[in-house]
Amino acid sequence: MRRREFWVLVLPSVIVMFGFMLVPLYRTVRWSFQKVEYGQPGTSVGLSNYTGALTDPRLGQATLFTLGLTVVVTAFCLFFGYILATLVNQLRRARPVVLGLILVPYVLPHVVGGVAFSWLFDTNFGGIFNYVVNGLTGGALGDPLWFTDVWPNRAVVALNVIWYMLPFAMLMILAGLQGVSTETLEAAEIDGASPLQRHLFVIIPSIRGVLGFVLLIFTMDVLRVFDSLIPLSPQAVAIGNESIMLYIYNVAFREGAVNLGLGSAISVLTILLILVLLYPSIRNLVREAKAAA
């Protein structure tokens, strides 16, 4: 394809992306150096928003919480998603129904799913989770305070994020499994490999690319968790379960004295964090493209 053709075809999309994303991004960076509220011009404060953010224990707490959540959710979804994908892969007639049901959390708006999820755990509203689990285990669960205790609340949030991210992991791995070469599998079995060894040494290495992709998407998306925390963690600030995005929202939009400058500074810091985490994937991408070219 000639260069001019390329640019003509690409231009509308570039304008949309750059116009709607780069311009606001520039605004955010500008704001991060100001003390500003909506509808009013800001006053420049240099780096004080950044120093304020970096020395605020609340940001450190939010980062730790978000990173921890990302790691736990990603690990669980990769593991259990793999198991699910393997199981679903063996279905024939039941596959559409099972896939359809498993897709439900993925297609629901996260905030709506979060509200419905919260009703399950809120005994004040007849939440049946405690009821059912205690019934099944004979009271072993007790009466955890899902919304005010730190770790029970983290468990609820993690469960919710797993709930809506698992379908994606499962589907990706399922698709990846279709491309596993049967010859290699047969060879492994002839060599006496047990099912577990087949999984570990044949299948997983051959879907390495898929797993890497899932890891990438999970990192990007769980790091930005926000919607579910609104109904599920009403006391997020007090118990240290604020995610980075929720912190930005609280600081820049919700709380009494709207502090847009500080919120923007935290946004910029988050972007830097995400870039750092994305770097290996980007490097791989570039390397692959160069190899293919």
Partner: protein, 305 residues
């Protein structure tokens, strides 16, 4: 080019592998019964997973048809005479219908425009091997990873200053931009599956690049376009953060509405659960009907990934 999960040549699904193995080696009884135990266990796991995946939605649906005085009672009641009054109330006493229309209109507009803008771009990216192509793809990836607030809060200010705050247009425009990276990545992967020889043959016959796109690529890409369209539609439907910031009353969407009902008193809370059900049903419908495309869309990323 159909897009489905039937395995490529030379690759058979594991189940038929296991089956043919069993038949070929004539496994003794005990191993076959071990196969049965595994089958039972896996069926249980799958069944449990399916139930857990829909449990919150089912519980919300359950609560929405109970009489108000037992809807959220503790301990929960399981026998009651169902009523649809909350749905009737939701429909008739609030502007829920308007919010639903807003959600659908915004989703449809952003899908159509995102595809219109993204298709040529994705085509170009799949055919041009220069550095610009790579740079754009990487940038698109970074854009997709951005924290929404970095982009949406300035949009709030800009939309207010040019007077399009709280309109469906503003929300659709924001969503088009936000979902562009995903759109062009997905479509590019689909385009890459079509051999370049087709383009070249057509151009040798006198077709312009645009003509190739219009007359050859797009018809071939039907399922791919549908897949991308369904994804963008779903993303737009699901969006809360952008909608919460950019809309107020005129362009309010259903997720935003439901979020504002969290702290309501009893009858309205039950209406919120009814709203949840009404929002979820069409989305589940889409998930079932368009399942093949959703899976194929994810698969394309996987196989190339």
């Amino acid at each position: 080019m159909t897009v489905d999960l039937t395995p490529a040549e030379g690759v058979r699904p594991r189940s038929s592998l296991a089956l043919s193995e069993e038949v070929a080696t004539g496994k003794p009884r005990y191993r076959r019964s071990r196969g049965r135990t595994i089958a039972v266990v896996s069926a249980l796991i799958l069944a449990a997973t399916c139930i857990l995946m829909v449990a919150p939605f089912l519980w919300a649906a359950f609560s929405s048809v109970k009489p108000t005085d037992v809807a959220f009672s503790n301990p929960p009641v399981f026998t009651f005479s169902p009523t649809f009054q909350p749905y009737v109330d939701l429909w008739q006493t609030t502007s829920f219908y308007l919010y639903l229309i807003n959600t659908v209109v915004v989703a449809v507009i952003s899908t159509l425009v995102a595809l219109a803008v993204g298709l040529p771009c994705a085509y170009a990216l799949s055919r041009y091997g220069g550095a610009a192509s790579l740079v754009l793809l990487v940038l698109a990836l970074i854009f997709r990873a951005l924290p929404r607030f970095a982009v949406v809060l300035p949009m709030y200010e800009i939309s207010k200053s040019i007077g399009i705050y709280d309109t469906r247009v503003a929300l659709a425009a924001a969503l088009i931009a936000i979902n562009q990276p995903f759109t062009i990545w997905l479509l590019r992967n689909f385009f890459a599956e079509i051999p370049r020889e087709l383009d070249e043959a057509a151009m040798v016959d006198g077709c312009t690049r645009f003509g190739v796109l219009r007359r050859i690529m797009i018809p071939l890409m039907g399922p791919g376009i549908l897949t991308a369209g369904i994804f963008v539609f779903l993303f737009a439907f699901q969006e809360y953060l952008t909608a919460a910031v950019l809309t107020d009353i005129n362009a309010k969407t259903v997720p935003v509405f439901i979020a504002t009902q969290i702290g309501q008193n009893l009858p309205l809370l039950q209406q919120a659960s009814a709203a949840t059900v009404l929002l979820t049903l069409p989305v589940i419908g889409i998930a079932f009907v368009a399942q093949k495309y959703l899976v194929a869309g994810l698969a394309s990323g996987a196989v190339k990934g």
